[in-house]
């Protein structure tokens, strides 16, 4: 079968903040770039980010990038790579100002500068007083940012392939990446998009959990394509459970609520975070707050009939502050919790939110993997940024508002790196004859499968397994059973059947392909989590409650082919400043 082929200088998979920031760099440099997205760009999940973008602008309180760096290293529970963290924090101001110049409608202070608000884990003077570092557009920062980046890309004439799903990465015998095979969802046609540079910006995958703040589209497509192509996934045991998802619905309630002065209560009306984090209280790191909440519930101090959630109180902020700074939250609370926060608290529960792990990269956005000479050899032609990538700037726990910063900084950096690399690689490499065979085989299997499994049932089983076996606290026996159970689910996912065989906008087919990808991510997560016998950041083991730097100050690498694990050292040496050595993490 011959498949249509198109050639580009660069192909970007994913049109969220990271993909579009990179695309902008390439389009403005005059390169021929194709951006593929399963959804129209402004529907990407960046749109749902609420609270802000971290940058030490110092508009409200004194601040500098070095303090931001310290907070990020500490927040990562020392698993973050300090060269990448320095790189990110140093560039934060610049990328935020750039975004403002693009037209981002930042809220403003009286003096006309960008409005900033406090967020969890932000400090002045290396662990001193609370810093005010998150640059915000009310509680719709992600929405404003995504639209601004799309608008700027319209100006730059970036070519988008809207409602296209990438199926597989194409690598040649040398292991170089030459593009992707992709499905045009509207017509059902498969095409090869050949490129001298392929960038993944496919976002997160927290849809592996039943209770998730993530959009339906967050199915880890980029991670699964990477794993299938023989590149390992890094630190997959580290998933952030956001303290405040709407109870029952999972929808995110921004940490900005606590940044503006809201706080959590248990059934006794106690502000319990004072016990767990006497200094930072409700603005401790997210892993700390989520564990405290889970402990409160476990010990019988949860709220409601089933004592299974907590309350987020913000009415004391007053109607004016809530309407001006948290209007989106109010809208969500009224619609999904039937509670108007001006008068009553919002029922909340820790909810799967963000994947710290992902495709291993360096701080130039180049994908790195062990090959012949070391653990971090560049995979030629392959780049990744944003939530799907693991640079690693977030280590074992991400700080709030560092994710929007991450996608801006590394989207731009990867764009610049691609521009440099393409100057050297001026020709497309020869495409192997079997470039799209595996993807076509998966599609053919779906078309012909009889008596197979139901996609939504297997999906439910997958999510329930992850939720029960790999949640906020992790237990040895549950993880052990979890590995078996999730392996079985992954096996069933290979045997799914869809009844819809139409070529035209076949969403059943898309969901079946997404399930393959979710299964890949879920297995990687469970196996990586079971192996790490310590507690660090978001990975909290009941049987190993402490961090163990002697044994575990290292990154996990998971190889899909034989489900093997390997490890590589954390990069403790920053670019120019002194290293922050691991120490006890107290908030």
């Amino acid at each position: 079968m011959t498949i249509a082929r198109r050639k580009f200088d660069a192909v970007i998979v994913g049109a969220g903040g990271g993909g579009m920031r990179a695309a902008l760099q390439l389009s403005e440099a005059g390169l021929k770039v194709a951006v593929l997205s399963k959804v129209f760009p402004t529907r990407s999940h960046t749109v749902a980010a609420q609270g802000g973008i971290a940058a030490a602008l110092g508009n409200v309180t004194e601040d500098n990038w070095h303090w931001h760096m310290y907070d990020t290293v500490k927040g990562s529970d020392y698993l973050g790579d300090q060269d990448a963290i320095e790189f990110m924090c140093r560039q934060a101001g610049e990328v935020v100002y750039e975004l403002e110049h693009y037209g981002m409608p930042f809220d403003r202070l009286e003096n006309g500068k960008i409005y900033q608000r406090p967020f969890g884990g932000q400090s002045q003077n290396f662990g001193g007083a609370q810093a005010t570092r998150s640059c915000a557009v009310a509680d719709r920062t992600g929405h404003a940012m995504l639209h601004t980046l799309y608008q700027r890309n319209v100006r730059a004439n970036t070519q988008f392939f809207v409602e296209w799903m990438a199926l597989d990465l194409i690598r040649d015998e040398q292991g170089d990446v030459l593009g992707v095979s992709a499905l045009d969802i509207e017509t059902g046609e498969v095409m090869i998009l050949q490129a001298r540079a392929t960038l993944f910006a496919t976002g997160g995958a927290a849809r592996i959990f039943s209770a998730s703040t993530n959009a339906f589209i967050n199915t880890g497509d980029g991670l699964a394509m990477t794993a299938r192509a023989g590149v390992p996934l890094q630190d997959m045991e580290f998933w952030q459970f956001h303290p405040t998802g709407v109870y029952g619905a999972g929808i995110l309630i921004s940490e900005a609520v606590r940044g503006e002065g809201g706080y959590l209560l248990n059934k006794d009306g106690e502000r319990f975070m004072e016990r767990y984090a006497p200094h930072a209280k409700d603005l401790a790191s997210r892993d700390v707050v989520s564990r405290a909440m889970t402990t409160e519930i476990k010990e019988g101090r949860g709220c409601g009939r089933d004592a299974d959630h907590l309350l987020l109180k913000l009415d004391h902020l007053g109607a004016d502050v809530i309407k001006a700074r948290l209007p989106g939250i109010r809208e969500i609370a009224i619609k999904f919790a039937h509670a108007d926060p001006i008068r009553e608290p919002i029922p909340v529960v820790p909810t799967a939110h963000y994947m710290m792990g992902g495709i291993p990269t360096n701080f130039h956005g180049q994908v790195v993997a062990p090959y012949k000479t070391g653990p971090e050899e560049v995979v030629q032609g392959f780049y990744a940024v944003g939530e799907c990538a693991c640079v690693s700037v977030h280590g074992a726990n991400r700080l709030g508002t560092n994710s929007l910063l991450d996608i801006l900084v590394f989207g731009r950096a990867a764009g610049n790196q691609i521009i440099e690399d393409l100057k050297r690689n001026s020709h497309h490499k020869h495409l192997p004859g079997d470039a799209a065979d595996k993807a076509l085989a998966r599609l053919a299997r779906l078309d012909s499968q009889k008596d197979g499994e139901n996609v939504s049932q297997v999906g439910d089983m997958l999510r329930k397994t992850m939720q029960a076996h790999c949640g906020v606290f992790r237990f040895a026996d549950l993880l052990k059973q979890g590995v078996d159970k999730i392996s079985e689910v992954a096996q069933r996912a290979r045997n799914t059947e869809i009844r819809d065989k139409s070529r035209v906008f076949n969403t059943a087919r898309v969901e079946a392909l997404e399930l393959d990808n979710l299964a890949e991510v879920a297995v990687a997560t469970m196996i990586s989590a079971r192996a790490r016998t310590e507690s660090r950041g978001a990975h909290a083991r009941d049987d190993f409650p402490y961090r163990d730097d002697d044994k575990w100050l290292k990154h996990t690498l998971y190889f899909s082919e034989d489900r093997r694990l390997d490890y590589k050292p954390v990069r403790l040496k920053p670019l120019t400043v002194e290293s922050f050595p691991p120490k006890a993490r107290i908030y």
Partner: protein
């Protein structure tokens, strides 16, 4: 709960038809989108767009009992049965509840939806007072779901010539931005019998906007700006 849903698959159907569904809801099913996903577990061929399920991505706009809205933030409680679901009116149907939005986005792109400021950017942010920034409230929040434009008869008749309420709301978003320098150029483009002036202020746009925005007011403000510059 009973539903009657517009179905059309060009791969096999000669023409569209309405299909009835009756499903048992679970306690967790609160919004229309929850019910549609439940239907899809029984009939995987029912096709619709959806993503964020919280009303910010703008994917799942559709015509619900005769009125445009987002399925994910439309409570099931209070919907008249059978709930009649159709694709957004006025745009070509690709399949079932999925419409071809090319024309809608073409109009959005036509108004140059980006900040135009030719001054060299300063080292830090351009300053903007809180009052100037407040001018953008009620404008920048648009999610491009197309509920408004596809509720507008003027857009139905002239989707290639009339910008439509969504595009005009964004045109005003940039006209209202103290940092933008292209006011004259933007107004010149809109000074046309169709692009702007096909709006007859019937308010359907404002009436259906799921984000509570007011395109009609923005259109009125553009018209005022135009009048002011001629006198």
């Amino acid at each position: 709960m009973k539903f009657s849903i517009y179905r059309f698959d060009p791969d096999k159907d000669e023409k569209p038809y309405m299909q009835d569904y009756e499903i048992a809801l679970e306690p967790a099913d609160r919004m229309l989108l929850d019910a549609l996903i439940r239907i899809k577990t029984v009939d995987d061929s029912l096709s619709l767009r959806r993503s964020c399920r919280e009303g910010v991505c703008g994917s799942d706009a559709m015509n619900i009992n005769g009125r445009n809205g987002l399925a994910c933030i439309t409570p099931l409680k209070g919907l008249k049965e059978p709930v009649e679901l159709r694709p957004l009116p006025g745009l070509p149907v690709i399949r079932d509840l999925i419409v071809d939005m090319t024309q809608f986005f073409k109009q959005y792109h036509s108004i140059k939806p980006y900040l135009i400021n030719e001054d060299p950017p300063p080292e830090t942010e351009r300053l903007q007072s809180p009052e100037e920034r407040a001018e953008l409230d009620g404008l920048y929040e648009c999610i491009l779901c197309a509920c408004c434009s596809t509720a507008c008869p003027s857009f139905w008749w002239n989707p290639d010539k009339y910008v439509g309420p969504a595009g005009l709301l964004q045109a005003y978003r940039f006209l209202a931005d103290s940092r933008d320098q292209a006011t004259a150029e933007r107004l010149d483009y809109l000074e046309d019998p169709y692009r702007l002036f096909r709006c007859h202020s019937i308010m359907n746009c404002t009436d259906v906007c799921p984000k509570g925005l007011n395109p009609m007011e923005a259109i009125g403000r553009i018209k005022t700006m135009m009048t002011k510059r001629t006198i």
